[in-house]
């Protein structure tokens, strides 16, 4: 049983977020245990990244190094990337392939389920030294995660209390993940982005449909998205997961828009080469944008024909690494690849409509000093948590804090 954090939540509850939550080192350490090692499913990798038995990859659960593998029987497994002997990283590359994993320091070896299979010189050398007679390798296996693959996405949890992934997600979120992962995917590219802010600031950013048309001018200017378009927010029962979606070319006139003077609205703005936005309705439902989050730190993105998953890895109280994995389908032809390549200009560290998300997080983090007594205000769309047909709401942000507070006990 852990000690409770000395953190008083504002009496307004879910509509307030006390600023020190983004800057306190003790909160960060507590999240490691209560959130990431708690009753949650963490994104580990894609099945497509472990095609063969014997494949493994290094990944992270929170900031804890973890290895996810497909064992020789083809079963998925995951375990700490920390040798049971003296704690060295076992895999210090992106990944590998083999029958076993051995530690470079003293050559202890593990099978692809994290079981200790070999201790060098366990019986000593020339009958001298070695491990005590009563040393049992089986008592020194690596700490493992429970692993489940859902729609080609591999999740892991350290907790026995976590329900099956599909139950954890709830039907609506599960369905929207299946929508994107509807057939075998292939990775079209990787990169990562260091965000100068606490990891929760970026999670909120993804859940915050309110900002989309306001911060991202490129977005609005080309009607890729506008709050007045048909769309909405779905929040699962727990509140921790969400999907925000909208359709294009279904724009209703909106008094508010004509009333508000939005920086984001620049009617005159046109592309010299519009081929950037050429795309196809590959899902057949007219939905041009779907941003989906799974608690705590995973994002599935469809922006027109740009598909990606995003893994959010804390790198300290005020730093976060965002791992982008760009996807296509295994059966994409050259024309489809060309479309995805051009539309990749919309997202990623330099993307026309995601660039700003890299900046605002830092603006929030840098504004924390002196705000120790203050709190963010999260009242757009009311004070509750639930699905809505508008995206002028912060319902899914409140949902995040609902789960967070329960797990953290604050």
């Amino acid at each position: 049983m852990r000690n409770a954090l000395d953190l008083a939540w504002p009496r307004e509850g879910l509509t307030r977020v006390p600023y020190p939550i983004y800057s306190r080192a003790d909160v960060y350490a507590e999240e490691r245990a209560r959130i990431f090692q708690g009753p949650v499913w963490n994104f580990l990798c894609l099945e497509a990244e472990l095609p063969q038995p014997g494949d493994y990859r290094a990944t992270f659960v929170g900031d804890m190094p973890v290895i996810v593998a497909r064992d020789l029987a083809g079963t998925l497994a995951a375990f700490e990337n920390r040798c049971a002997h003296r704690g060295a990283l076992l895999c210090f590359a992106r990944g590998g392939h083999g029958r076993e994993i051995s530690c470079v320091y003293h050559n202890w070896t593990y099978d692809l389920r994290g079981r200790l299979t070999g201790v060098t010189f366990q019986r000593g050398v020339n009958r001298q030294g070695g491990m005590p007679a009563d040393f049992e390798r089986s008592k020194h296996n690596l700490r493992t995660l429970r692993v489940e693959s859902f729609a080609g996405i591999v999740f892991g949890t350290f907790s026995d209390a976590t329900p099956p992934v599909e139950t954890y997600l709830g039907p609506a979120i599960a369905e929207r993940i299946r929508r994107v992962m509807r057939k075998p995917v292939k990775v079209l590219g990787y990169n990562s982005q260091m965000l100068p802010n606490n990891w929760k600031v970026y999670v909120e950013n993804n859940k915050d449909s309110y900002h989309a048309s306001l911060l991202h001018a490129f977005f609005t200017t080309f009607r890729v998205n506008r709050l007045s378009q048909e769309g909405g927010i779905i929040v699962d029962d727990s509140g921790g997961h969400h999907v925000s979606y909208s359709k294009r070319a279904t724009d209703k006139p909106s008094a508010e828009y004509d009333a508000t003077d939005l920086r984001a609205k620049r009617r005159d703005y046109r592309l010299a080469d519009p081929s950037l936005l050429d795309g196809v309705d590959e899902f057949g439902d007219g939905i041009t944008l779907q941003i989906l989050t799974v608690f705590p730190a995973f994002v599935v993105q469809q922006i027109q024909n740009s598909l990606a998953v995003r893994q959010i890895v804390p790198r300290g109280v005020g730093e976060t690494e965002l791992f982008w994995t760009y996807l296509g389908y295994a059966d994409d032809d050259g024309a489809m690849l060309a479309i995805r390549q051009k539309q990749s200009n919309l997202v990623g560290p330099g993307g026309y409509i995601s660039m700003e998300d890299g900046a605002v997080g830092g603006f929030i983090q840098r504004a924390l000093p002196g705000g120790e007594e203050g709190a963010a205000v999260v009242e757009m769309g009311g004070r509750g948590v639930g699905s809505e047909t508008t995206r002028a709401t912060e319902t899914s942000v409140r949902g995040f804090w609902q789960v967070y507070r329960r797990l953290m006990g604050v």
């Binding site: 590219g189 990787y190 260091m194 001018a217 010299a272 080469d273 990749s344 026309y352 700003e356 900046a359």
Partner: protein, 158 residues
Amino acid sequence: MPADIATERDVERLLARYVASIDADRLEEWPGYFTERCRYQIITSENYEQGLPLGIFFADSQAMLQDRVAALRQANIYEGQRYRHLVSSTLILGEEDGLVIAQSNYMVARIMHDGATMLFSTGRYLDRVDLRGPGPLFAEKLVILDSRRIDTLLAIPL
């Protein structure tokens, strides 16, 4: 047989003018260093070497480069910043259908408006230069980043 000194100079001058325009925030000049039907891509060496097609930015026309500048000037929000490019070790690798293939090493420092300076990007330029026109132009420019990791965001072209 090494390329002649004049060709090396032409390519080096083009690179020098290219980085001078970017570093002085004269981004409007940037598309002008390319042919109309050009190819420009910023891609990490990890993706490039594995044959993964997607990078950080891709353009296959001068017009797309103009759109990039227009977006940075009119639409996108990012904190005031400048680059400083250093370019060295330009090598003429050969010639193909009239284009000179050249490779150069670069380092780019990013300087924020408040003065914060960091080594933002390192890598190499893999260029196809058209020397046949009145002035040399990039028919293709690959910016191959050594690092898979971008700090904060990448707005200004490299």
